[in-house]
Symmetry: C2
Subunit: 217 residues, 2 copies
DNA sequence: CAATCTTTGTGATTTAATTAACATATATTC
DNA sequence: GAATATATGTTAATTAAATCACAAAGATTG
């Protein structure tokens, strides 16, 4: 991925984790946390946590640590979670429905505005109060509703077609669950969730472990 | 994650990508490929590809390149895709069903043996020919059917409970889709798919890009 | 079949990421 | 309120990852 900022993706991908762990702390009424305590919870080293946070400014206080609420807020802002993103899901299969039903995304500012599908039986229905719309109307809908993010939950065979349609509009990012790499304009952010790659990694580790075990014997 | 082998996770996580791209080449009847050509397709540098592959031995031939079929096979073996893993899905919600319906996993050697759920209306049904079983029978089922991998698709609130049950058995790996970090025995491989982290990364990049844009003006 | 071209495998180098170390600021204690 | 303990922010050191560069092997060509 082409980057502009000086903050590395390695750091960026840890931010949501910090955010989540801080949320847990808030739930448990913990108001204050040190990098060392965070280290125990998150598994990252205290040093790394401090260095990560300092990419964005000093949120802590020497001798005290970090105020949990404040840090949670700040990281939220850094992640852009204080903003609203008009979002649509494309593909009302199980995966699309799973995402539609997971209200957490909506609460986090990703406004799920519509779900698109080819199946006329689904069109007109609502899933978690989100209308299912005919995919033929996708382009128009994106333009009219100022959609910034599209979530591709179609089969592999349809993913590029959908991406092509969306690319003609002003969308800014694609969250892609189809097991393929999309070709799109340079300026569109693409985040892939390739489930099989994740599963294959398990497979590798299992095999490796078994080999290690055999060696020991 | 605790590692044993000398091959870094960075390399391991690229292997499934190579595997997938090679599959594409096979579909297009391409028999031979150089690291340079692979570089164009995958976006990794040719040098990195050669170095990655050499972690596992020399699969290429100087002056020729790599035999696509052979390399695809070899990477498949490295990933352990020539083996069969008895697998169960826990949670027959949309996400669990999505995974159950995605036959690709089954074809890749992850035998989806059962789906567990608490909902008595679902128990007894079949999803993509996989029986839905009462979650109360989980432990016994795992033991009797030699299950090695469990896929957690439950809500967050149930995930640790399920993990605790599974941890009493001989399972070897957990593929976790619940938005939480599981506490399990050291020897169990846990691969998390934290969707919100992926989405939040998009959010960060969007925000960052907008800031870049404003600066230019 | 000799000459040339291609492309791997690999050691050296560079760049990036992580960890360690510590000075400084603040909190806490007695 | 002085003394001590704590914990950040930050620079330096270390480790890990990616890239470069090239010799050697083998393919291709005329």
């Amino acid at each position: 991925m082409e980057r502009f900022s000086s903050v590395s993706m390695a750091v960026v991908r840890r931010l949501p984790k910090y955010h989540r762990y801080l949320e847990e702390l808030i739930k448990n009424d913990i108001r204050r946390v040190s990098s060392q305590e965070l280290s125990k919870i998150t598994g990252f080293t205290a040093s790394q946590i401090r260095q990560d946070l300092n990419c964005f400014g000093g949120f802590g206080q020497q001798g005290y640590g970090y105020n949990v609420d404040e840090l949670h807020d700040e990281i939220g802002k850094i992640l852009g979670l204080n903003k609203l993103y008009n979002t649509v899901i494309i593909g009302a299969g199980n995966l699309g429905q799973a995402i539609a039903n997971y209200s957490f995304f909506d609460k986090s500012g990703f406004k799920m505005t519509a779900i698109f599908d080819v199946n006329p039986k689904l069109v007109g229905m609502k899933i978690n109060d989100i209308p299912v719309v005919d995919v033929d109307e996708l382009e128009q809908f994106i333009n009219e509703h100022n959609i910034e993010i599209i979530v591709i939950c179609t089969p592999k065979s349809q993913a590029q077609k959908v991406a092509d349609i969306a690319t003609r509009t002003n969308i800014k990012a694609i969250w892609n669950f189809a097991p393929t790499d999309l070709k799109v304009r340079e300026d569109i952010i693409v985040e892939n969730v390739h489930l099989s790659e994740s599963l294959f990694t398990i497979s590798y580790l299992l095999k490796e472990k078994e080999e290690q075990y055999r060696k020991k014997k």
